[in-house]
Symmetry: C2
């Protein structure tokens, strides 16, 4: 290991004010273009910490089988959340309703997904209530729909889903399937102004240990720090090094480098749908096109798919590796596109049915990200 390599941080037992920028940045990168603007989540969390709140983070493996673990998320269009910040009060309301309903108090919170907003709001709720957060989540990235999560793929029931807004309105959904739960909640969220606070998939500690993706809060912080550290080394190399140091190592690569030449975007049914086209500098015939639904789903290099959901496709600033979410893509941005292998739990046959390309209406079989030696992957520019 040389001097410039990224140093693995100890597993955090908390995240403090000084970590928030790095943490939000790392989470946004894992968000694969979705998960919302990390700044929004950070503001909410900073507010809680500045009021004296503390975050306690615990390891997935350490929680008791009979503990009660509650996933939390903000649901809605990230573009809406920029103007309508997540409400910690509404989260408290949703959690209390769930507790009342099930007749027990939550022992732990767990993020439903990792992304700019949804990795930070559980921390804000943790700080408000003094309730520990599990260092894990249900996606290891962001996905647009709430049935696209290892908690559900692993057999947990999405219901009851409790949806709350900042005015005290609460909708509780009990659905025949996790997919119907998504649809019914989505429509409630739309009616609540396009964004709302949600608790769902209440589960035991045993179920959480069987179905959650471990160590993702730590990974977000490590990645954020890797990007932030000022060194001569390319930030993405430090980032890839952080991936390699996971208990179950993952890999990353640069898929493409170039300039954003076109962004097609449309908000429909509460989602941001679109396509971004990136051209290689001085070689405009060499392109990478990425299709997204909130998150980046498929990258086509000159028409050939080179990265597919659930592998992570992240667009970052060419120089700083700052992640760029799909709603902030602009013509002319100089970017690198990174590919990161998905966690094991997302690439089982059951998982691919729920989070693979066909789950998004894309008529392609999932093929794992190939790193190194592939003639179809261009890194020049």
């Amino acid at each position: 290991m040389d001097d410039h390599s990224f140093k693995r941080a100890p597993r955090p037992s908390t995240i403090s004010l000084g970590d928030l920028e790095a943490f939000g940045r790392g989470a946004a990168l894992l968000g694969a273009g979705g998960g919302g603007d990390p700044y929004v989540g950070r503001l909410v969390l900073e507010h809680e910490l500045s009021r004296g709140g503390q975050i306690e983070i615990v390891e997935l493996a350490s929680i008791a089988d009979d503990a009660w673990v509650v996933p939390v998320c903000v649901m809605g269009a990230p573009t809406v959340m920029i103007e309508k910040a997540p409400s910690v009060d509404a989260f408290v309301l949703a959690l209390r309703k769930l507790e009342e309903r099930l007749g027990k108090r939550a022992d732990y919170l767990i993020p439903l997904e990792i992304g700019g907003i949804n990795s930070t709001v559980p921390l804000a709720l943790s700080a408000r209530l003094g309730l520990p957060v599990v260092n894990a989540d249900g996606m290891g990235r962001a996905f647009p729909e709430i049935q696209m999560v290892t908690f559900g793929i692993g057999g947990n029931n999405i219901s009851p889903i409790v949806v709350a807004d900042e005015f005290g309105d609460v909708i509780e959904v009990t659905a025949r399937s996790n997919l119907v739960g998504e649809r019914l909640s989505r429509s409630a969220v739309a009616q609540m102004g396009g964004s709302a606070q949600v608790v769902l998939y209440p589960m035991s500690g045993l179920q959480a240990k069987r179905t959650a993706i471990p160590d993702t809060l730590r990974l977000a912080l490590d990645i954020g720090r890797a990007i932030t550290i000022n060194s001569d080394e390319a930030p993405e190399d430090r980032l890839f090094a952080a991936l390699g140091k996971l208990d179950r190592p993952r890999r990353g690569c640069v898929l493409f480098k170039g300039k954003v030449s076109d962004v097609q975007r449309e908000t429909r049914g509460g989602f941001n749908f679109g396509t971004v086209r990136i051209e290689r500098l001085r070689h405009s015939e060499d392109t990478l096109e990425i299709v997204f639904q909130n998150e980046n789903l498929v990258a086509y290099h000159n028409g050939v798919p080179v990265a597919l959901t659930p592998d992570i496709i992240a667009i970052v600033d060419s120089e700083t590796a700052e992640p760029i979410t799909t709603e902030t893509l602009k013509f002319g941005q100089r970017v690198k596109v990174l590919g990161i292998t998905a966690p094991d739990l997302l690439v089982t046959p059951e998982a691919i049915k729920v989070v693979g390309p066909r789950a998004f209406g894309i008529d392609l079989d999932y093929a794992p990200l190939r790193i190194g030696g592939s003639p179809s992957i261009a890194t020049g520019g």
Copy 2:
């Protein structure tokens, strides 16, 4: 009183199979053009009665102050309900969820509204569960929205609202206001396929006695029988006689007689919006135009408003007085248009804010129906 006059029926303590046709017809007339096709409600109720179910009907004044009374209704577009019949199973599910939530069992059911479908489904649920139904409702007619009800006008909370579908999906809404409760439930119903089963405004016997409109199930049966009876007397005269025999007598008149010459109709946001134009036979310049949103809201005689919500505007077959709902209006139908005064509880200043013309975006002050001697009311034909 002459021999041909309508004879007041004794207050019913049940409604049997033989009454259903008359009851459905009377309820549809009170439904003011809305409330759905009475045939749909009748089928559901007949099914329950044919399985041996019995309906017990109790008087509003007789229920105990501390009894627990639960209003029930089907919510959605009547055009959808023609194809997607109300589900008694889903009603049972919704009621059980509400009971579980509030930790007590319902003592009585009460219809939210009187109309072709919503006066019969509470009876079907009563027959299924052996739970008595109160001879009263919250509208004395039909209205398109669930905050347009004396239960709410009188100060009861619409929440919790429990919405269930025939697949076992349940949505529970707790809303900051009755109007927001309507919006959030409406969107849930739309997502459930355009029609769903709802329980709401759970209240004490005391609250029910203060806010419900009494005797409306009996009135529906009386009106239905008045229309059905084969006599030389015009059916509407027998109908008006039935209104006059209420404890708090009401009045009716023929507003117009003619032929349907135009129907404009549009389904939007789960409602049937539209306008129907009726021309006097051989005097096509003499017209009555009725604006509706599920229910008939305003009647304009040659451009002058002559009847306004909450007074009941009912379109009936010219010969038989069979009520015609807004979704079954057709060009060429020979019709009479009846006006019926609203119950007292609907014309208080508080009620007019919720169910008067302006509540429907119609820029007119409410003026009570004028019966007899008005030059603006034509009955010729």
